[in-house]
Symmetry: C2
Subunit: 489 residues, 2 copies
Amino acid sequence: MNIYLYNTISRTKELFKPITEGYVGLYVCGPTVYGDAHLGHARPGVTYDVLVRLLRKLGYKVRYVRNITDVGHLEHDADEGEDKIAKKARLEALEPMEVAQFYTLRYQEAMKKLGVLPPSIEPRASGHIIEQIELVKKILDAGYAYISNGSVYFDVVKYNKNYHYGVLSGRNLDDTVENTRALDGQDDKRSPFDFALWKKAAPEHIMRWPSPWSDGFPGWHLECSAMSEKYLGKTFDIHGGGMDLMFPHHECEIAQNTISRGNSGVHYWMHNNMITIDGKKMGKSYNNFITLDQLFEGTHPILQQPYSPVTVRFFILQAHYRGTLDFSNDALQAAEKGLRRLMAAVKDAPKLETASGADHSEEIANFREKIFEALCDDLNTPIAISYLFEVVKMVNSVKDKSLKIGEKDRDAIVSLFNDVVTDILGLVDDGASSSDTKILEGLMEMILENRREAKVAKDWAKSDAIRDRLKQLGISIKDTKDGCEWAVN
Amino acid sequence: MNIYLYNTISRTKELFKPITEGYVGLYVCGPTVYGDAHLGHARPGVTYDVLVRLLRKLGYKVRYVRNITDVGHLEHDADEGEDKIAKKARLEALEPMEVAQFYTLRYQEAMKKLGVLPPSIEPRASGHIIEQIELVKKILDAGYAYISNGSVYFDVVKYNKNYHYGVLSGRNLDDTVENTRALDGQDDKRSPFDFALWKKAAPEHIMRWPSPWSDGFPGWHLECSAMSEKYLGKTFDIHGGGMDLMFPHHECEIAQNTISRGNSGVHYWMHNNMITIDGKKMGKSYNNFITLDQLFEGTHPILQQPYSPVTVRFFILQAHYRGTLDFSNDALQAAEKGLRRLMAAVKDAPKLETASGADHSEEIANFREKIFEALCDDLNTPIAISYLFEVVKMVNSVKDKSLKIGEKDRDAIVSLFNDVVTDILGLVDDGASSSDTKILEGLMEMILENRREAKVAKDWAKSDAIRDRLKQLGISIKDTKDGCEWAVN
């Protein structure tokens, strides 16, 4: 099956051709671990997880590398300010690596809740200082970097004479002036466009390593070039990340790769779009900054209730990854309802009644084809989900007996749900674990029998009381002609 | 409160005096991540977790460093054979770091199940190559190492002339001959006692870094010296590990530290003893090698049933960490029963009936004192647990009304259970989560009411049927004079 991916660098959807048939190398920029995971982490987490799951379902062997930035990411991207992790460590009187450990575990935990599978390799920036130093040496040897007061800077001005600094983001060097501050004369840089490859550490700076130039630490952009080459080779298939990383981070990666490896290093650049909250950019200053735990626990003022991780995942997948995504309480409410309908059909499918002679195989095969076509069309999850709801309708028609299907049809529906809902979209029923479920189902059976007996005895007060008490426990029941259905809210 | 720890190096229990009042630096040797966590990992995991929890309860700020060995641990400790992780990677056609990532996550997951809190810092050997190279340089400069064909070896023979190689394990150099093979003339070492600080990589070796001596990788013993110094300083309080690591691993650490730091680096050496299974050493050749997952799932032939992680934790704590611990199905059965009795009392304590005028404050204070005394006496958890069962007896006496206690007594018991059972021993009820529990309790209330009504109506058949159906679901009920108690098995 052909996969098409929108390649940021060509601004077109391209047919995906792996470098080595059957294998895919994927690198995605991971978190800087100095605070709790928030909505801005959930989107790339889920997006590239679905990409990996889809590729694996289609038979590719994927090596997925997602880094942990635990050093070198300064407060201001322009090589100034304090290291984000060191600052947090200073404020909390901890060793920087205690901060990194704490938030790495929190991040991994949050991703796990969202159903995001762990990457194949999760390299730390601080664990690859040698590789970064070697890379700086190469760029220096090639003449595209200079040493200044113990720090090393990439010479963007020189680079831009021979190559295009801005090839990814579509900028020209002049456009970037707005993003850089004028040099104040104290700066070690020759030009404000240049960026740090190695920074000499101030005496009080804790995170430091020896290098040929100074005791210091690597520039932020360097780690991704060093670690992607180490684990995926000089040229690899796909590089993903949030759109906010396109400039300057990915642009700098390309410049580094071009000089050190002789090519930009990456065949397909993918960027997920940003999220907004009630139409506004998320930020501490907007008072709408929502961590994932706040979302899962419903403890942020804009939220009416907690939203389960799988609801958040489903909500993210209802939009295409290249469009902006607006989080609001209402939108999450709607996602929760839709997800419940989908998961009910997934649960009911294996138990559907079948009729001999009935045959909808063509229709179901067509749904499958459309769904995979959508997923392979630059990961169009909203279209894929809309077709899934056609299958949900079919399931519900069988349930209310307005449609008959054959045994093979049922099997095809179950297999489609398994492949797409469970394996690729990674949506799971967020109810209790299986042994708890068994107990719950057993107890409910006993209670509903009791209610049935009350009804047979025309003891309506009792039958209503049972319904009301269940409701108090958060269990709703619905009488059907075949008996009674129930669900935990 | 005074804490006494058995210091392996002095072979006596010593009063614990931290280097900096109020702070404790602790380093524990973690796993080599090339296979699933097994019983041999559970014991140090739980032992040092209880140490950290106790120290924190007593008001210490603990920095707990536990490493991940992802490079350098060769198949045979004597600097020969293949790297354990590289070998696994070769067999499974993976990048070594994919193997390390996979088993690191599995290990962390298993520790989490066992209630082992994550360490403050979890440094990787591969992430600290620079620090290890710097350490090799220091030892070379001091004249206690030599370069041979691109590898660097620690000169044990020279070291032993000025210091005692064997100070921790109590061996003399001559005793160690049995553990070393004769040199075959091909070896780069001057003496079979010497150990590798840096190994030149064979051409096919994937895990390699540049160094002043060769492209290669660090010797296994080096990482712990480098990482403990980096995160805990030149001298720190406690170093823990399994008894099997005492020689040669910890002995080599001491030799490295002595030369590079001027002292052995550690004030208190703690070693947990080994485990056996049905009286035999655990090993693949004995066919009794049990992974933690097999234990939790009951999938090993010697196990009659699954044992919950908290049962395994309790079982480990029932023995003193310096004694051997024999795992058997019968012993686990007994532990499970004991744990259930303890956790029932912990659950019942806050609901105990109190009587005005009753006062057992002295008795309860005495239990608390004895329990803390035991824990502070070189972590004597079996004695602490035996006193806990005295408190359990008290709780049960109040429940069966043979004893009356006051409100303050009840509060003191609850607080004792919180501090010791929950916080220090880390034992938690392994039942369902709180919201599930609420539903379960609500449904059980409805069902037991129904049974009560049947009994009042003398409908014994119905009342028995309810009991039997609950039993099938794994819920046992017990009639008491006040009504009916129930428990999920």
